[in-house]
C-alpha cells in the first residue's frame, strides 16, 4: 500500500468520475428492472457483454463506430428484454429467489452462446481515436484524460438525461414510476402492469446496450467477463438503494472513484475486492443503501 502524489491522485479521481458516468448508464437498467419487477436481473452483466460483442461485430465487419452501433444494439436488446420478461420471467411468480436463479440461468446460457460464437479471447475495439488524450495544464498540474473516457461520460450523461426526461414527462414513464412506487395501487389506477413490466425490461436492456457500446471502447472483455461486471453493477445499485435512480447515479460515481483510487493505492489485482466488500457490507448493515427501501426481504 502506498500513497500517490497529489498530481496522480487528482488525475485518478477525475478518471474515476468519468468511469462512474459509464457505470451509471450500465446500472440504470438494473435499477429500473428491480424497481418494477422486484427481481434482480443477474443476467444484466451478460447482456452488457452481449451488446459489447454486437458493437465489436459492427466495428470489425462494417467498420461502424461504436458510438453509432447503438442503432443496432439498442433495438435488438429492447426486443430481447421484452420477450424475455413477457414469456420467460413472468412465468415465475412468488419466490423472488427463483427469479434470481432464472436470470442467472439466462446469464449462463448467454455466456455459453457468446463463448461459442466469439471464443474466449479477450476482445476490445481500437478505433483511430482510442489512444488520443486530452492534456490540460492547470496551475502546475498536468492532467491527461483519454478522449474515449470523456466521450463515454458525455454519451452516458445524454442517455441518462433522455431516460430521466422520458420517465418524468411521458405517460409510459409515469406508469413505470407508479409501478415502482406501488404495484397494486398502479394496477388499481388502470396501469397495465404486465405490459409495463415487459416494456421496462426492454428499456432496461436498451440502456445496457448503450452502456455496452461505451464499454466495448474502454475495456477488454470475453464471454466470461459478465461475472465480474454484474458484481460491480450489483454493488452500485445496492449501495444506491436498489430502486432509486438518483441513488444509482451517485453510487456509480462513488464506486468509479473508489475503484480508481483503490487501483493505485492497493494492487490492481486486489482492487475489485472493494466492490464486493461494499456490496456485502451494505446488504448487511445498511440494506436500504444511500437512499432507498430496505431490501433484505427483496
Amino acid at each position: 500500500m502506498h500513497l500517490p502524489s497529489w498530481n496522480v491522485l487528482i488525475q485518478v479521481i477525475i478518471i474515476g468520475i468519468l468511469t462512474g458516468g459509464v457505470y451509471a448508464l450500465m446500472a440504470t437498467g438494473l435499477t429500473l428492472i428491480f424497481g418494477v419487477m422486484r427481481v434482480i436481473n443477474v443476467a444484466h452483466g451478460a447482456f452488457l457483454i452481449f451488446s459489447a460483442y454486437i458493437s465489436y461485430w459492427m466495428f470489425t465487419i462494417f467498420g461502424l463506430d461504436p458510438f453509432l452501433s447503438i442503432i443496432v444494439s439498442v433495438p435488438v436488446l429492447f426486443l430481447i428484454g421484452l420477450i424475455f420478461q413477457r414469456f420467460v420471467l413472468s412465468r415465475v411468480k412468488g419466490d423472488p429467489g427463483l427469479g434470481v436463479l432464472l436470470t442467472f440461468a439466462m446469464a449462463l446460457t448467454l455466456e455459453g452462446v457468446m463463448g461459442s460464437l466469439w471464443e474466449s479471447t479477450g476482445r476490445s475495439i481500437r478505433t483511430a481515436y482510442t489512444s488520443e488524450v486530452l492534456a490540460i495544464e492547470l496551475s502546475g498540474l498536468t492532467l491527461r484524460l483519454p478522449w474515449v473516457r470523456i466521450g463515454g461520460l458525455v454519451a452516458a450523461a445524454i442517455a441518462l438525461a433522455a431516460i430521466y426526461f422520458f420517465l418524468k414527462n411521458t405517460n409510459l414513464g409515469r406508469a413505470i414510476r407508479a409501478t415502482i412506487q406501488n404495484r397494486s395501487a398502479a394496477q388499481l389506477m388502470g396501469v397495465n402492469v404486465e405490459s409495463v413490466q415487459a416494456l421496462t425490461f426492454g428499456l432496461g436492456l436498451a440502456t445496457v446496450a448503450g452502456g455496452g457500446a461505451l464499454f466495448s471502447l474502454i475495456w477488454t472483455f470475453n464471454s466470461g467477463s459478465h461475472e465480474e461486471w454484474i458484481s460491480k453493477m450489483l454493488s452500485i445499485i445496492v449501495l444506491g438503494g436498489m430502486s432509486s435512480l438518483p441513488g444509482t447515479f451517485l453510487a456509480a460515481l462513488i464506486m468509479g472513484v473508489t475503484e480508481s483510487v483503490a487501483a493505485v493505492v492497493m494492487t490492481s489485482y486486489l482492487s475489485p475486492i472493494v466492490f464486493y466488500l461494499i456490496l456485502f457490507l451494505t446488504l448487511i448493515f445498511r440494506p436500504q443503501g444511500l437512499f432507498g427501501v430496505r431490501i433484505r426481504e427483496g
Partner: protein, 349 residues
C-alpha cells in the same frame, strides 16, 4: 412393483458397491466418483436450499475452502487428506455459521446476491494470499500412496460412505423437530417465528450443516485431482450444478438431489464428450436450468408422485401403494411437510 418398492434400497446399495468391479475402466471409476460426490454435495445444499428455502449460489466458496484447507494441511503438516477432510470440514462449517449469522439477516434475492459476493471475495483472497495458496497457478499435493490402477477405487468407496452419512443426516433432520422448523421457515418465516421457532439459530445451523458436506467434498476432490487452483476450486458452476441437480430431482425431498446427480453428471459428461466444448456445456446447462425453473420448479420426484397419485386415486383411495409416491412420502416432501407443519401450528395455537 411391490418387490421393487421393498427392496430398492438394498439393491441400489449393492449395485453401487459392485459397480467399480463390474466397470473396471478408469473412466467409469471417475464417473462413479463424480456422481457420488455431487449426490453428496447436492444433498447437503438441499438442507439449506430445499428444506429452509434459502437458495445459496455461493456454496462453491465452502467447496474451495475445504479443498484448500485439506491441500495445505497435507503439504505443510503432512496430514492424510482422507483422514483430515472430515475434521477440516468442521472448520469450514464453523466459518459458514459465522458468515451465515451475518448473511442470513437478508433473505430472498438479497440473500442470493450476498452468497455470490461471498464466493467472489473467497476467490479473490485465494488468488492474492500467495504465501499460502500459491496464487493463480495453484497448489499441488502428494499423490495417493496406493497403486495408480486402483487409485480411484478407494476414493469411490470413501465418498459412497460419506454420501450415506449425508443422506442419513438429511433424513434425520427432515423428520426431527429441527427439520420441521426449517420447513416452517421456508413456508412462512414470520409465522414460524410467531409459533416459537428460533429462526436465526435454525437458519444459521442449517447453513453450517449444508456447508459441511460441500467442504468435505471439496477436500476429497482436492486430493483426488491432486492439483487445485482458485479458478476451479471457487468455480460458481460447482454450486450451480448442486442447485440444478436438486431442483431437477426434487427440491426439498430426500432422494431428489441424488436422482438429479445420477442424471446430470453422466449427462454433463455426455455433452462434454459430444461437443468437446465448455461453452456449449454452459449454454445447455443454463438452458436446462431455465426449463426446470419454468416448467418443473418442484422437480421430477414430486411431479411423478403427484401424477401417479392422480392416476391411482380413484381406484385405490388411501393405500398409497406405489413406489415413487411412497419414496416421496418417506422423503417427507412438500405435501407431507405442509401437513405436518400445519399440524404443529394448530397444536401450538
Amino acid at each position: 412393483m411391490e418387490l421393487l418398492r421393498r427392496w430398492w434400497k438394498p439393491i441400489a446399495l449393492l449395485t453401487l458397491l459392485a459397480y467399480p468391479w463390474i466397470y473396471r475402466a478408469p473412466y467409469y471409476h471417475l464417473l462413479g466418483f463424480n456422481v457420488l460426490l455431487f449426490a453428496m454435495m447436492a444433498t447437503s445444499w438441499n438442507i439449506m436450499g430445499g428444506y429452509t428455502g434459502y437458495k445459496s449460489l455461493g456454496h462453491s466458496a465452502f467447496y474451495g475452502l475445504g479443498a484448500y484447507l485439506v491441500a495445505v494441511a497435507a503439504n505443510e503438516l503432512g496430514w492424510n487428506p482422507l483422514v483430515s477432510a472430515p475434521f477440516l470440514a468442521v472448520i469450514v462449517a464453523l466459518v459458514a455459521v459465522l458468515l451465515g449469522w451475518i448473511m442470513l439477516r437478508t433473505s430472498g434475492s438479497a440473500f442470493v446476491i450476498s452468497t455470490i459476493a461471498m464466493l467472489l471475495i473467497f476467490r479473490l483472497v485465494a488468488l492474492n494470499l500467495r504465501e499460502i495458496t500459491k496464487g493463480a497457478p495453484g497448489l499441488s499435493q502428494p499423490l495417493p500412496p496406493w497403486s495408480p490402477e486402483f487409485s480411484r477405487m478407494p476414493f469411490y468407496y470413501y465418498i459412497l460412505f460419506w454420501l450415506l452419512i449425508a443422506l442419513f443426516i438429511s433424513w434425520y433432520i427432515r423428520r426431527s423437530r429441527f427439520g420441521l422448523g426449517l420447513v416452517a421457515i421456508r413456508d412462512d418465516e414470520g409465522k414460524a417465528e410467531m409459533v416459537g421457532v428460533n429462526t436465526t439459530l435454525y437458519k444459521v445451523l442449517a447453513f453450517g450443516i449444508s456447508a459441511y458436506f460441500v467442504a468435505l467434498g471439496g477436500g476429497v476432490w482436492s486430493y483426488f485431482t491432486s492439483h487445485i487452483s482458485p479458478v476451479f476450486a471457487f468455480d460458481i458452476i460447482v454450486g450451480v450444478d448442486m442447485i440444478l441437480m436438486t431442483m431437477l430431482g426434487g427440491l426439498g425431498t430426500l432422494w431428489g438431489p441424488v436422482l438429479g446427480a445420477f442424471i446430470l453428471v453422466p449427462a454433463g459428461d455426455f455433452i462434454l464428450f459430444t461437443f468437446g466444448s465448455n461453452t456449449i456445456y454452459l449454454a445447455i446447462i443454463g438452458g436446462l436450468m431455465m426449463l426446470v425453473i419454468i416448467f418443473m420448479p418442484r422437480g421430477i420426484l414430486p411431479t411423478i408422485a403427484e401424477w401417479i397419485e392422480n392416476r391411482r386415486a380413484p381406484r385405490i383411495a388411501h393405500e398409497g401403494a406405489h413406489s415413487m409416491a411412497e419414496m416421496y412420502d418417506q422423503s417427507k416432501g412438500k405435501t407431507v411437510a405442509e401437513d405436518e407443519s400445519s399440524h404443529e401450528r394448530t397444536a401450538s395455537h
